[in-house]
Structure formats: structure tokens, C-alpha cells
């Protein structure tokens, strides 16, 4: 049986990471954590968006990079899905601004999706469906966040800013085609943010095993079963990365050696970019992958759910690599700021206006 996914692939990928960095030791210093905390979480530093950056602008640059690699007429993209949990407006889509700024409007679908850190991935699965059905030739999924964390919460070590975007199109034009995809969701109270709350809360006891590990493992095993594949068939494994430790641990539980997880691991150096997390990991793997290699990607979102995808790299990838900056280019481009500037840039310091 031919799976519908296999008619489609990624025709362009792009990422973006802001240039400001906050060292984990700054959070230790300001909030009185144990010095061993960054090491326990495997987090060295995190990316911080500048004062004029938000999830929309960050997503725009990732989408622009994806478009530069895809080299398709923007007007031929007929869907823009923007996955985020830090949209600038509660009501008014970011997807329309990005679509307008890239010349994709007006004949296109455009929407902002919410499912904690896997909304962008839901957009990716929807894109695969729309393209494989023949409803459109190209669709774009963006995962972007300026992740919030309650000041002094353990999440503050990792919550960061960044994005990645993928343009899905016909398999023949793709740099990597989809072999299959599988989604696993349940109602799990591991992490949430109410409508007018500035910061999310997490349900202790739900965050690790019942949420992250259970959902990713279930999605990946479901995919393995459907495709008749196992960890030995993959060259890379990319997972959602709330910290540096979890993706290595979930990889181990699924039978992946560290060497297959490390190439897509970005959180220790840029933090958890929420909707950008597994997406930037995939972008980084595409930056270095060779034709014929097989990639497993499994984003996760609290609430909770995970998607697992299997991708096979084609020989078109080499010509696309140099057309936009790599994830590594953005990781290397950095300047350190202290907790004060970080607080100002991310709106933690509140000013009033007369």
C-alpha cells in the first residue's frame, strides 16, 4: 500500500535564532539556584529575542529562509500554518502578516495553531494532507516562539526564542520525502497557560513520564509498527527538546545511540524554543544530511501529544544547503546579555505609560 505521505516531501527548510544569549549561570545567580542546575538540565545558554522581535518576526525569518531554499513562486504556496504559544495578538492571525510579507497572499489558507510546543507539527501534518490530496502544490508549516517562563521558575533556564519552517511539496521536488507519519494525543495536565496569564504553569508529577516520554514513545513505536522500521534503520533521531537531557533519554529508551541524537540537539546552546524546538533540530539535521539517509522526527506538545515522521533524504539536498544560513550559522552568531537586559527585552520589566 502506498501511503499518501510518500507523495510529498520537504522542498525547502529554514531556521532562525536571535543573536542574544543568556547564560544559565545568570539564572542561577539571580534566583539562587544550586550551581549544578544547568548541568543537571544540560543547558549552557539560551537565545533571547531582541526588543523588536516576537514570534511573528522570528517565524518570518525562518519562513523566508525556507522560501530561499525552496525557490518556488510564493503565490503557489496555498497554506501557511503558524504554530506558536506566544502569538503577539490573542486575536489577529500572525500567519497573514507573514504570508503578506513573503508575497504569498491573497489566495492562500492562513492560520495560527495552538497545541503547546507541537502546534507547528500539527501544521506540518496538515500540510502533508493538503499536498498529498492534490488540493495544493505547496504548503508551509512554521513553528515559532518567544517562550515565556515565570521568573525564577525552573523553566526560565530553558524557555527561549527561535523558529523553523518547512515548505511541503511534491516528492519529486523534495530534499527529503515523507515515508509515513503517526500522531498520538491524550488529555494530560502537564503544562498550561490560562488566557490572561503571562506565564505558564506545570503540573508536577505529569511533566516527565506520563507526558513527554509516554507520548513520544507511543508515537514513535506506532510509526515503527506501521512502516516496519526500527531504530537501526535511521541515521538521525530528532525529538522535542525541553532541556538537553530528555531527548537523549527518550532516544535511549527507543534504542537510539547518542550519536544519532546529538546532530539534531540544539537546546543546550539555544534553549527550548518550544514550537521551534524539534523543528530547528530537524533543520540542523537537514543542513548536514546526505542523500539516502533516513531521519526520524518526533515533536511533542504538552496537553499532550506527539507526532512521529520518517523522512528519506534525496540528492536534491546538496544544491539547497547553501541557499540560506544554517542553524549552526545562527548558533555561532551571538552576543551575551545579562539578566537585566534579558528582562527588558522580554518584557519582564513592566513600564507604565501616562
Amino acid at each position: 500500500m502506498t501511503r499518501p505521505e510518500s507523495k510529498t516531501g520537504i522542498v525547502g527548510w529554514g531556521a532562525y535564532v536571535p543573536r542574544y544569549r543568556l547564560k544559565a549561570e545568570e539564572v542561577v545567580r539571580v534566583w539562587g539556584f544550586e550551581k549544578s542546575m544547568p548541568q543537571n538540565l544540560f543547558i549552557i545558554e539560551k537565545a533571547v529575542g531582541g526588543p523588536d522581535e516576537d514570534a511573528l518576526t522570528i517565524g518570518w525569518e525562518a519562513a523566508r529562509n525556507a522560501l530561499m531554499r525552496a525557490q518556488v513562486d510564493p503565490a503557489e504556496i496555498k497554506a501557511v500554518f503558524f504554530g506558536t504559544e506566544s502569538k503577539p495578538y490573542a486575536v489577529k492571525p500572525s500567519a497573514t502578516v507573514i504570508a503578506e510579507a513573503l508575497g504569498i497572499t491573497p489566495v492562500t489558507m492562513a492560520s495560527d495553531l495552538e497545541f503547546a510546543c507541537r502546534a507547528g507539527s500539527e501544521g506540518l501534518r496538515a500540510s502533508i494532507g493538503l499536498v498529498s490530496s492534490g488540493m495544493m502544490k505547496y504548503a508551509m508549516a512554521i513553528g515559532s516562539d518567544t517562550a515565556q517562563a515565570n521568573p525564577g521558575d525552573v523553566l526560565e533556564f530553558t524557555a527561549s526564542s527561535g523558529a523553523a519552517a518547512f515548505i511541503v511539496g511534491p516528492r519529486e521536488e523534495s530534499v527529503a520525502y515523507f515515508e509515513g507519519s503517526y500522531t498520538y494525543v491524550t488529555d494530560t495536565p502537564d503544562f498550561w497557560r490560562r488566557g490572561l496569564s503571562p506565564y505558564p504553569l506545570h503540573g508536577e508529577g505529569f511533566t516527565g513520564e506520563p507526558a513527554y516520554f509516554h507520548h513520544i514513545i507511543s508515537a514513535v513505536k506506532g510509526l515503527f509498527e506501521e512502516l516496519g522500521l526500527g531504530p537501526e534503520d535511521f541515521d538521525y533521531a530528532v525529538f522535542h527538546q525541553p532541556n538537553g537531557k530528555f531527548p537523549l533519554r527518550v532516544g535511549k529508551k527507543l534504542g537510539f545511540p547518542k550519536e544519532k541524537v546529538m546532530p539534531g540537539l540544539v537546546t543546550p546552546w539555544i534553549g527550548n524554543t518550544y514550537n521551534g524546538s524539534a523543528f530547528i533540530g530537524l533543520a540542523k539535521v537537514l543542513d548536514q544530511a546526505r542523500p539516502g539517509q533516513r531521519i526520524l522526527v518526533a515533536p511533542f506538545g504538552s496537553g499532550a501529544g506527539s507526532d512521529a515522521y520518517s523522512l528519506v533524504v534525496t540528492d536534491k539536498i546538496e544544491e539547497k544547503k547553501p541557499l540560506a544560513p544554517t542553524v549552526e550559522d545562527y548558533i555561532r552568531r551571538k552576543i551575551y546579555i545579562d539578566y537585566s537586559l534579558y528582562s527588558r527585552f522580554r518584557g519582564i520589566i513592566r513600564r507604565i505609560t501616562a
Partner: protein, 134 residues
């Protein structure tokens, strides 16, 4: 300093995509786009998307900022010459006053330009930041 929402909306192509106008008579390009050519007075112009890369010809650092701009302060305003020679005045971003210099290679990005307080519209527009080399 409040912007007009309808005016910003009409001009969004130039704010979001660096779209200028080319005179159908003398061929000169203006940014922001103008209905009448400022060089020869011809009344027919067409939209043209400008190159995203250029270099800083000159700049000024503004420390005393208008209301609503303290979060972006200091503001650095640049005179940028694009790769096709067109000159654009726009904010510079991702650069501190001690890092900026004339001749610096820059590229256009989309950033927040201003917002109508906490509850109003957010305005996005073109700014220039040091070019990514890749």
C-alpha cells in the same frame, strides 16, 4: 506618536517587503514608493521590489526617544545604500551603538517598529541588521 492604521495598511507592501516605485519615464526608483516621480515629475510609476542587501552610508544614534520607544532605545537610524544604488532611511537593529559603523554590510529584516500602547495595533516593518554571511 500614533500612526494612522488605514495609512499603514495601504503602505504595507513597502513596510513589509521593501517595495519602491520606478518612474515609467526616467526609470529612477524611489523608496518609499511615490505616485509622482520626485526626479522628473512624471505621474506614472510602477511598484518594484528592491534588493534586500546594502551597506550603511551614514547613521545617527537617538538617545532621547519619542513616547513609546524607550523599549527600543537607543534608536539607530541608518542611511542605507542598497545593492542597486537606491538609498533608504530605516532603523538599524541587532547592533549596539559601539558596533555600528559606516560601510557595514546590512540586510533587510521584518521587525516590530512601533505599537499603539498595550492594547492597540502592532506595526511591523523593514529594519536593517548586519548581514548574515553564509
Amino acid at each position: 506618536m500614533k500612526l494612522s492604521i488605514p495609512r499603514f495598511w495601504r503602505e504595507r507592501a513597502s513596510h513589509y517587503r521593501l517595495v519602491g516605485s520606478r518612474c515609467k519615464s526616467c526609470g529612477k526608483i524611489s523608496y518609499p514608493p511615490k505616485p509622482v516621480c520626485p526626479y522628473c515629475g512624471h505621474r506614472e510609476t510602477e511598484e518594484v521590489e528592491l534588493p534586500r542587501r546594502g551597506r550603511v552610508l551614514s547613521y545617527t544614534v537617538i538617545y532621547t526617544v519619542p513616547d513609546g520607544f524607550r523599549k527600543y532605545a537607543p534608536l539607530i537610524l541608518g542611511l542605507v545604500e542598497l545593492e542597486n544604488g537606491v538609498r533608504v532611511v530605516a532603523p538599524l537593529t541587532d547592533v549596539m551603538p559601539h558596533e555600528v559603523r559606516t560601510g557595514m554590510k546590512v540586510e533587510a529584516v521584518l521587525r516590530r517598529v512601533q505599537e499603539d500602547g498595550e492594547h492597540g495595533v502592532i506595526y511591523y516593518g523593514v529594519k536593517f541588521r548586519p548581514s548574515m554571511e553564509y
